[in-house]
Assembly symmetry: C2
Homo-oligomer: 368 residues x 2
């Protein structure tokens, strides 16, 4: 799965970006037409109707089936954690990777609940991670550098992270099939990198898009905002340069997830955004290829303030609003259950004609 020559990474990204098309408006219209014939008052299934129609447009299928469900959980460490921005030590990143492999984390439970398989990726965890064949051990670097002092990573590594995300998604799709993908993360310090990316792309002041992550006190919160302000002043990243954003203030897991979004869009597979990190990766993906946004679904509204800014920027309305702020893909995989429900309704409900039910004009269709 790992490409070896650096120039091939840029080529893979360029090829993927070039193959991202637009939603299939005809499939979407056929789905909407079917929706109007199903045994329910028009519009009475609310956002589930719009959701199924969006997925029809993304996939190009009139009656999409979301049977093969994937959650990608990408993990990495962050040099900025040295600035005291998290309540947890960096060792937790590797410990949680082990927990994902053992099946004990929240995302494991919710993936089982949603009938989704999990692919865990060590994009660049500082501590050692298990030699487990189920773990994709990219280990692109032992975490990022502290971006308050220097770029988080080189452009070459940033490109490689995105390319690895693309390759990973393509391999998953080729081997086990993927009808929908949820993008999750793990990485102590990664809400700091995400808030920096969100501030850089949306142009909002860091203090308005920075939250308390795992749950930090006032002193750490001030250190977090200060770190982001320092990084933006130091690097002045160009918001339209996705690779440049990643290299300056991003994370290795964020790069991998950005690659997954690009590959999913190219393959016409709906990709579900989780929380603030997953959302920041979507901002990076749209900086690389703006059309990616048309293939995304916002899983939930995280309580992290930067997430609302991200979704507003991407013009996406989240499906769930349950006060989640865990990451790992938990909100996204829970939202997959709603996507599945919406598509099953479109596919499996009877029409007025099939069921012999009168429509709002009081007419039972003739074949009933």
């Amino acid at each position: 799965m790992t490409s070896t020559r650096d120039d091939s990474h840029g080529a893979l990204i360029a090829r993927t970006v070039a193959s991202i098309s637009t939603p299939d408006l005809e499939a979407r219209a056929r789905a909407a037409a079917r929706q109007s014939q199903l045994t329910k008052p028009p519009g009475s299934l609310g956002r589930l109707e719009a959701l199924a129609e969006r997925i029809a447009g993304i996939t190009g299928a009139d009656r999409p089936r979301l049977e093969r469900r994937l959650v990608v959980v990408a993990a990495a460490d962050h040099g900025v954690a040295a600035q005291g921005v998290s309540a947890y030590p960096s060792e937790v990143t590797a410990q949680m990777v082990a927990n994902f492999l053992a099946g004990g984390a929240a995302v494991n439970v919710l993936a089982a609940h949603a009938g989704a398989r999990i692919r865990v990726v060590d994009a660049g965890v500082a501590a050692e991670t298990p030699l487990d064949p189920r773990l994709v051990r990219l280990r692109l670097a032992p975490g990022t550098a502290d971006f308050t002092r220097e770029p988080a990573m080189s452009r070459a590594i940033a490109e490689r992270a995105v390319a690895e995300g693309i390759a990973l998604f393509e391999a998953e799709r080729a081997s086990e099939g993927t009808d929908i993908v949820a993008c999750g993360d793990m990485g102590i310090g990664n809400t700091t990198s995400s808030a920096a990316l969100i501030a850089a792309v949306t142009g909002r002041p860091p203090s308005t898009v920075t939250g308390r992550g795992t749950g930090i006190d006032d002193a750490r919160y001030e250190a977090k905002v200060a770190a982001i302000e320092a990084a933006l002043a130091l690097h002045r990243p160009d918001p339209s340069d996705g690779i440049g954003l990643l290299a300056a203030i991003g994370g290795l897991e964020i790069g991998v997830l950005a690659g997954v979004y690009l590959a999913a869009a190219a393959a016409r597979v709906p990709a579900v955004i989780d929380g603030v990190i997953s959302g920041a990766a979507a901002l990076v993906a749209q900086a690389i290829a703006p059309r990616t946004v048309d293939f995304l679904i916002a899983g939930h509204r995280s309580v992290e303030p930067g997430h609302a800014a991200t979704l507003e920027y991407l013009q996406l309305e989240p499906l769930l609003d349950l006060g989640l702020r865990l990451g790992e893909g938990t909100g996204a995989v829970l939202a997959i259950t709603l996507c599945v429900a919406a598509c099953r309704l479109l596919d499996e409900m009877a029409t007025f004609e099939q069921a012999g039910v009168s429509d709002s004009d009081g007419v039972v269709p003739p074949e009933a």
Copy 2:
């Protein structure tokens, strides 16, 4: 299942009300204590944590499992439909009952999605319904009377409807087991009855709690509000008399669902409210037994304005907000998937100690 002597109905209701206790605060506290040991930052699963703890309190189990899931869909007709309050003719009620039995309605698809079985009840459909052994054919009356002119039903029939709901739930629980129940409805004209009940119980003006149901135009909307105002002026129902409310302005399916809520509360089984009709039934149940509310879960926020008033009155916060307004139990059964997810997280996640993950003090528990 059907009791034959009228006085036995009142006795069954009284016995059920007397056996409704309070949530088990110790089980709830044990669930909360376990929650704090699971591998996630405290509170990071947001409302899913509170939901699992509420279900622990309702059921009395520290780690509740919601394996046997039931949706009760009660159908009936409404005499007030003669006032031109709906976009659909009354025949649709019986046609939709047939659709439920054939598996073609939205609630069938969502129940399959949620792993729930459906029990369809003809509480009082005007037209003939199928002689299908899966249909509970109570047929307490051929629909209600037009409550703008006379009481919707007698007190004896109102009591019987509630008692049948209790007997139905108890029989379902005894035969196939029930760990959670969702309450759905079908009945042309029933948003009118529900809005009348909501106005009567909450004291709000009818125009503020009346919506457009299946989707009616301005003329029908005005007729609907006028019908409710006329009924309230005629009957002046006592908001603390649940049977009196049902008799004056209620519906047969609403009475059955109120009985299901009472029986579920008595059995410590969480009951999920769907939309505006299911919510009106919960108002009737709380008028009969105020403690019932502690055993309820609000599935979703319907777009019907009366539903928000109901949930505010009951002090319940809905789980989903997807713009649904179909009824049938669709929003409630979709919310069951969230209840299941919340309980699985509480039950199945690893603790910090089990997983060898450092907590926020940076300490790996000693046995890791």
